[in-house]
Symmetry: C2
Subunit: 565 residues, 2 copies
């Protein structure tokens, strides 16, 4: 029996946020009575690992439920190690806020009421789907270990040689990689938007991902919203719009990866405020509209650090951090949960893809006057053997210089740069502050100036000198293309521009007379900095309509898929 | 001829800081007349790459002087691309501040005076040595490409099978790796302090590096200050103190790697203020005590972000950033150079070693009341196949909770964590703010909670619950050791403690009666978190003298060298 002074804590949902909240509260107050209701019987698994189980990086879905030292996180573990009473197989179906009680039901139909002094709603999310999609034997979602086992069984028994992935968000892309890389499946991704990863990336950066997938044999069809899917005798048939209208696709399996939606019906029905996403509204101490009820994880909306608006960001990392904040508040500490930059990352074969804050498209939707800078960089000292390339797109507010977002794609370490900028933009940092970032420096780990310094300088220079960096996929539109690379570079990687004037940057000052005064110019080089530098000098020499190719030929070329093998 | 309105800018030193300052000023004001004096004729090379040239990662020292796209950064390059007039072979020997002129001399004895309106001193550093060391055929420093070529020639011609590295700072350690890894040399490092990398690391973290070197056959002798070195007919003989007193060591080569000292005699002689390190004193716009004279790079002192005191941090990364700030100020922009966290990193075979801010030892020297937290973590999701280990030591101010420094050693990504904390401590961030750091999360890139979240929680918990995490090398000193690992873990990695009581964490609550009330306890586990958690519960159960082993058996074991091969 809990004693009179110790609040009865009830947590609904035994996943990251709920269990972390409970464990933290128990650590702070080991005498607290903490009950956790969980509708599943297999719970507390690393859901983010499911694509890696499908792809074979993880041998057994059971591993996703083990601690790093091998204990299974079941009811006994949570009781013995964390001091939590997990009641599994109980689905919360009702909430009586006046009586402070949650009604829960078991599979056998039996019901029970659980009373609380403090309640935590941590019911997570459900897989999104669409009206025309009939889930079934060959049309699956990937949300639970059972889903993943069913898909993997089909792969292991050789029943799945072709697959359609419905949705090109990061789960869809991870899944396409898993199916293609390990199992050699012929995979097609269908995405309704005009690009992959539309929540993370703008068009050009997304096209880098499409190109990398195409190179490894994955077919990407963007602008093709799925309108129906069903199982047939031997497989699945999927109907989509756009360029695929009227041409149903067939495959051994269709996997629906349309993201997730908040799952908190019992709480919503009791009148707790929900936002546009359907997620519970919480304050900065993660209290719902009822001050005795907290909520965290994939069932809530968080606050976007950039726009200040509510944003739905269902990620295990945020759920874990939020759980700790709820645990503190459950026992009376006034810990706050910060605003969220919305960082995301995904590995696409050898390409690292990451983003934080708002894309240029998302900034425009949020009503912000955004500008962008592109750049291509080496991630470590250029003479170090393992040097790799990184393409960056920095989005900033034109007037204030405030950083709005960063996208990073390349074989180099994209995620580190995203993490640094995420934590700068979380506090309203400006582009110029990126120049002040300090990096540990040694040739295997970094260049003397980091790619972030480079992209910040590019952005600041394009504002100061009013020399636009034109989008990597744009056309010269009447400008004379001046390619300032060395002849060897041009031979190795042709620009693709017809009628380009080729003058290596070392010779531009001496040969400037070859360019007719007043000619509108587009200066191009391999990665961007040289052309920006020469453009600045040409501007000084009186060419007042001069631009450079942002990110260089390197980025422009990477946008074109090169199908191999 | 420069026009009347354009200041004549004179820069002494054509290395990172000076050239960056000049190039930036020229970009901002393309009409500026900018002259650069440089005493060498081979200049603008990536000095940080010299150990990698010695080790063979870089084929030719000339590569260190090329741009990423292959241009040689010589006088012609800087004139044609950057608009700088580099006069090489001119050594600055005098400064007349009243006349605003620098006197310089050539190798042939000829002299010339260079007038300026704005002067930049960017003369860099010289290799430090000691009175008893006679540099010569077989006793070398590694400071210039010529030094590196001489050493590599000896290696390539098979003359160097054994080598002594004098100094265990980061150049010494890089060099030992280069000599051992590529060339199979038998290498001995001699270090005066009680540990390697004494500027970066505290004792235990440094011992991880020593253990890694010992495993690969490098002999590390700490506490052995070198008192003399000279060339003999076939090699070098080195005399040291400490345990080596009276036992001179012989080897084919001795390489002196005692770090660098500021090189700015002509400026110091003209009365510019210098600090304790001998480096020029500059303000936050990098002006020396003469407002028309700027200085940057390895010849200046910077301001420590943690202590606010001057600090000598000769790193190419800072020099590059400072150069840009000087360039801005040269043309009238009031850009400031921020305080410096002092991040450093070095690759030691497969071990990544990095640090920022102050070590516990340095904090004590600075008069700060520091506390530390240790921890061992996985760097990505524990079920991901390429998961690696990372040991962290967080140093913080006890009263304020302000972060003072972080040390990170392991096969995992140490540098990313250092970079994030460097930029948090640069603005006075507290330990609790580390919990708010947002990370891009996906199993190949991160765990749901980052190691930084883990180490911050460890630090906060040890303060809140007053449960000390004892140093990884410490002994139980009368405490009963309670090993809460699973039997399989204990079998695989014995704790080394005699008479440990073994009760897996899952069983502690049920078997607590086996521990006599009042027994002082040291709880141990593999990495730290479990033992901290159990210690907290035992404290609640009335054991009021309970500690846990910080960083776990994993860290303790890694401190012991395991010589292989």
């Amino acid at each position: 029996m809990p004693n009179a002074k110790t609040p009865r804590i009830l947590i609904v949902g035994a996943s990251a946020a709920g269990l972390k909240a409970g464990a933290r509260a128990a650590r702070l107050d080991p005498s607290a009575a903490i009950t956790v209701l969980e509708r599943r019987t297999f719970f507390s698994y690393g859901a983010c690992g499911l694509p890696y189980y499908v792809g074979g990086d993880v041998d057994d879905a059971e591993e996703l439920r083990r601690t790093a030292y091998g204990s299974v996180r079941d009811e006994g573990y949570f009781a013995a190690v964390k001091g939590l009473d997990v009641c599994s197989g109980w689905t919360a179906v009702g909430l009586d806020r006046e009586a402070r009680a949650v009604t829960a039901r078991r599979a056998d139909g039996s019901k029970r009421s659980f009373e609380y002094d403090r309640l935590v709603v941590a019911t997570g999310a459900r897989a999104r789907t669409l009206p025309g999609i009939e889930l079934g034997e060959h049309v699956l979602v990937l949300h639970t270990p059972e889903d993943a086992r069913a898909l993997r069984r089909g792969l292991e028994t050789g029943q799945v040689a072709t697959a359609i992935v419905v949705g090109g968000g990061f789960i869809g892309v991870e899944l396409a990689v898993a199916l293609g890389d390990m199992w050699g499946c012929e995979v097609t991704i269908l995405e309704a938007e005009d690009r992959l990863l539309p929540q993370m990336l703008d068009r050009e950066m997304a096209d880098l991902v499409s190109a990398a997938l195409a190179e490894r044999g994955v077919t990407v069809r963007t602008g093709c919203p799925v309108i129906g899917a069903r199982s047939t005798e031997g497989g699945a048939v999927v109907e989509a719009g756009g360029a695929l209208a009227g041409e149903p696709l067939e495959a051994d399996r269709a996997v629906v990866a349309l993201g997730v939606a908040p799952e908190c019906e019992f709480a919503r029905a009791a009148g707790l405020a929900v936002g546009r996403s359907g997620g519970l509204v919480v304050d900065d101490r993660l209290r719902t509209s009822d001050p005795d009820i907290f909520a965290a994880g994939d069932c809530v909306e968080v606050t976007c650090a950039v726009s200040g608006a509510p944003r739905y960001v269902p990620l295990g990392s945020l759920a874990n951090r939020a759980g700790r904040v709820v645990g503190d508040n459950l026992v009376g500490l006034k810990t706050r949960f910060p605003t969220v930059a919305g960082s995301a990352c995904v590995k696409v074969f050898d390409l690292n893809v990451a983003a934080t804050g708002l894309s240029e498209a998302a900034a425009a939707r949020a009503g912000l006057a955004a500008r962008s800078a592109w750049g291509t960089f080496y991630d470590v000292a250029h003479y170090y053997p393992e040097v790799k390339t990184l393409h960056l797109k920095l989005v900033y507010e034109r007037e204030s210089g405030r950083v709005l977002g960063l996208q990073a794609v390349g074989a180099g370490d994209a995620v580190k740069r995203i993490d640094l900028v995420a934590n700068l933009l979380r506090r309203g940092g400006e582009v110029a502050e990126i120049l002040d970032l300090e990096f540990g420096y040694s040739p295997p780990f970094n260049a003397a100036l980091d790619p972030l310094h480079g992209i910040a300088a590019t952005a600041l220079n394009q504002e100061r000198f009013a020399i636009p960096g034109i989008a990597p996929s744009a056309e010269p539109e009447g400008r004379l293309v001046l390619d300032v690379r060395r002849p060897e570079e041009i031979a190795e990687s042709p620009s693709g521009f017809s009628n380009a004037l080729e003058i290596a940057c070392e010779e531009v000052r001496a040969r400037v007379a070859e360019i007719r005064p007043g000619t509108p110019l587009l200066v191009v080089c391999e990665k961007g900095p040289r052309s920006a530098e020469i453009a600045r000098w040409l501007q000084h020499r009186g060419f007042d309509d001069v631009a450079f190719l942002a990110g260089g030929i390197s980025l422009r070329t990477a946008l074109r898929p090169r199908r191999t093998g």
